[in-house]
Symmetry: C2
Subunit: 338 residues, 2 copies
DNA sequence: CCTGGCACTCAAAGGTCACGAGTGCCAAAG
DNA sequence: CTTTGGCACTCGTGACCTTTGAGTGCCAGG
């Protein structure tokens, strides 16, 4: 167990390092933070902190920098979440209130987050799994070809082409549409399969093949579309990382382009609270020197998707966490209203 | 007018510089390209080329590098478009054939283009202005609320919420839907306004307000949606730019995030042929040290959108142009088939 | 007009050196 | 047992110098 003062020292080191981006030594520490002790004492404390793995020196006779473990402790026990200033809150509201549709909300959110945190922002589209069906539409395009349109309560629209085994009449189609909607509108995606299970039996023998096909495509759409899209922004902020560029930035850019990686990254974040993954805690190699701050957001009480930022491990955690949380809340409000 | 040999020298300089990324001198030139003259002669030619502004030296007593003007001449008169290898063609086909819908086609195209050229790829979604209406759907959501769904021949779906001035009955809506579709299906977006102009008059007095509202939203969607989305990829390739990183890469990343800038950039490209904009020819400042190779693509004979790549002015123009053209053609084919 | 020769330039690479921030350790004081 | 001042030591950083060599411009002769 670390003494009170040693924790203070660690906190001071993290804060200074985040601010200056340079290894911090014992003397500078005692000067800038009024711990009431001498540099020598701090040196002893730092030796202990290093032994425990919370800080490290880039080379002998240089200052110390926090390790991943050090940041972890800082985030868990030493730092709070910094609330935003009034001006920042207003900025968020102004920025998001102008959004006209879901795409716009997401686009604005990602820009806002990037600006606010001066880091790379990642926003996941609201997931479909937890949303409900607002309407299903069936449009005849050719005798044996139907377009299926699915509209969700989050305002998203998905369409699929269905090739039917037999030609299908307008009336049959209208009938199917009506029955389908009466059963599934307002229901959750996850409930739909059960609700439509016996639907083919209601129809004439001739049309059952078609009905089954349509249903199959619908269910497939529901499942498949859980594969969420996401939007990233603020990549230009990567240039602030450090001076040892190409090596640092490259793998990050590559990771950011692989949606799968990012989705997994966000997915790992806990559903409710804010999650901070620091350095090597990130599974993906390219992100080993970055931290990810993510949080779920949603229209109601349940989170339907995640958003967050990716930045250097040496980031302003309290500020970043504050911004991420605030943005998530506002977006949630906006989604609830629409 | 430059002599034949001087053009040869310029071409050699461009090729060498693109290959080595280092200023090229007279001696190296005579060795690697069998021009049948001595270094001294080449030096004289280079002096002339420099005077004319086609090449420059970074500092006295260094080799020459091409200027924007030099690249321009190279592209216009000295370089052809390098056709792709059979393997590359096969790769394109394999890659694009697996696409399942429009989003997927675009996503795959951008990845493909980035891989092929090892540069940043930009793909614009097929524009709606030139496409035709496949279907218009009207869905009652609440007594005075209708959802309008527009489906285009490119497979794109747009939806809008319509708040009607008065409650609207199912039958009226069905009637409107039928009349609307019979008039506009298969027609071009640009023709739609005329075609529906007199539609309100067909309806009862009570419903005219609603009909007008719906039509207004429809027309708005048609116009507004000319504001095309675009997708970019391969930003990690920016790290290959040079060693003087942050300065070069930052403004480019910023420019890439501003969709407006990019749209204008692509928009400037001529409609039919391939366009190459070199360095300062690009209006946007951040792109002053990059070149943009863009070309229109489309399902039929008409181009419906553009795609291209952004890379350093020092790029392999023939290869890049070949790749861009080939990809555009294949994408066009795919769109035509679906 | 082409060529070989020659003196000149200048960025890049390597080497040396002094500086100083920062450390670890120790012995004495609290 | 903790804190403190003192002190020798380490080592990266930056300033300054020299060397090297690719590349140039110019000129006189073919």
């Amino acid at each position: 167990m670390l003494s009170e003062r040693r924790l203070k020292v660690l906190r001071a080191i993290v804060q200074d390092y985040v601010g200056t981006e340079e290894p911090v030594g014992s003397k500078a520490l005692t000067e800038r933070h009024h711990l009431g002790v001498s540099p020598a004492t701090v040196r002893n404390d730092m030796a202990v902190l290093e032994e425990e793995g919370f800080i490290a020196q880039p080379h002998t006779s240089a200052g110390r920098i926090p390790t991943d473990k050090g940041y972890r402790l800082f985030v868990d026990r030493l730092a709070g979440v910094k609330p935003l200033s009034a001006a920042e809150r207003r900025a968020i509201q102004n920025f998001l209130d102008g959004a006209v549709d879901l795409d716009d909300v997401v686009a604005r959110t990602v820009r806002l987050l990037a600006q606010l945190t001066r880091q790379v922002a990642v926003v996941q589209y609201p997931s479909l799994t937890r949303s409900t069906v607002r309407h299903v539409e069936l449009l005849p395009l050719a005798p044996a070809r139907v377009m299926l349109v699915l509209i969700t309560d989050t305002g998203r629209v998905e369409q699929r082409m269905v090739d039917c085994p037999t030609p299908v009449g307008e009336t049959t189609l209208a009938d199917l549409r009506a029955r389908l909607n009466s059963r599934v509108v307002g229901r959750r995606f996850t409930d739909v399969p059960q609700l439509v299970q016996d639907l083919p039996e209601v129809f004439e023998q001739d049309d059952r093949g078609t009905v089954s096909t349509v249903l199959a495509v619908l269910l497939e759409t529901l499942v498949e579309d859980t594969e969420e899209r996401l939007v990233i922004g603020g990549t230009a902020n990567l240039t602030r990382f450090g001076h040892d560029f190409p090596l640092t930035i490259r793998p990050v850019l590559e990771a950011l382009e692989e949606q799968v990686v990012l989705l997994k990254l966000l997915g790992e974040a806990s559903d409710s609270g804010m999650t901070v993954r620091i350095g090597h805690e990130n599974a993906h190699e390219g992100l080993n020197s970055t931290s990810v701050v993510a949080v779920g957001y949603g229209s109601g009480d349940e989170a339907v998707a995640k958003l967050g930022v990716v930045g250097p491990t040496r980031m302003d955690y309290p500020g970043t966490m504050g911004a991420v949380r605030a943005v998530a809340r506002y977006v949630g409000q906006i989604l609830a209203e629409s």
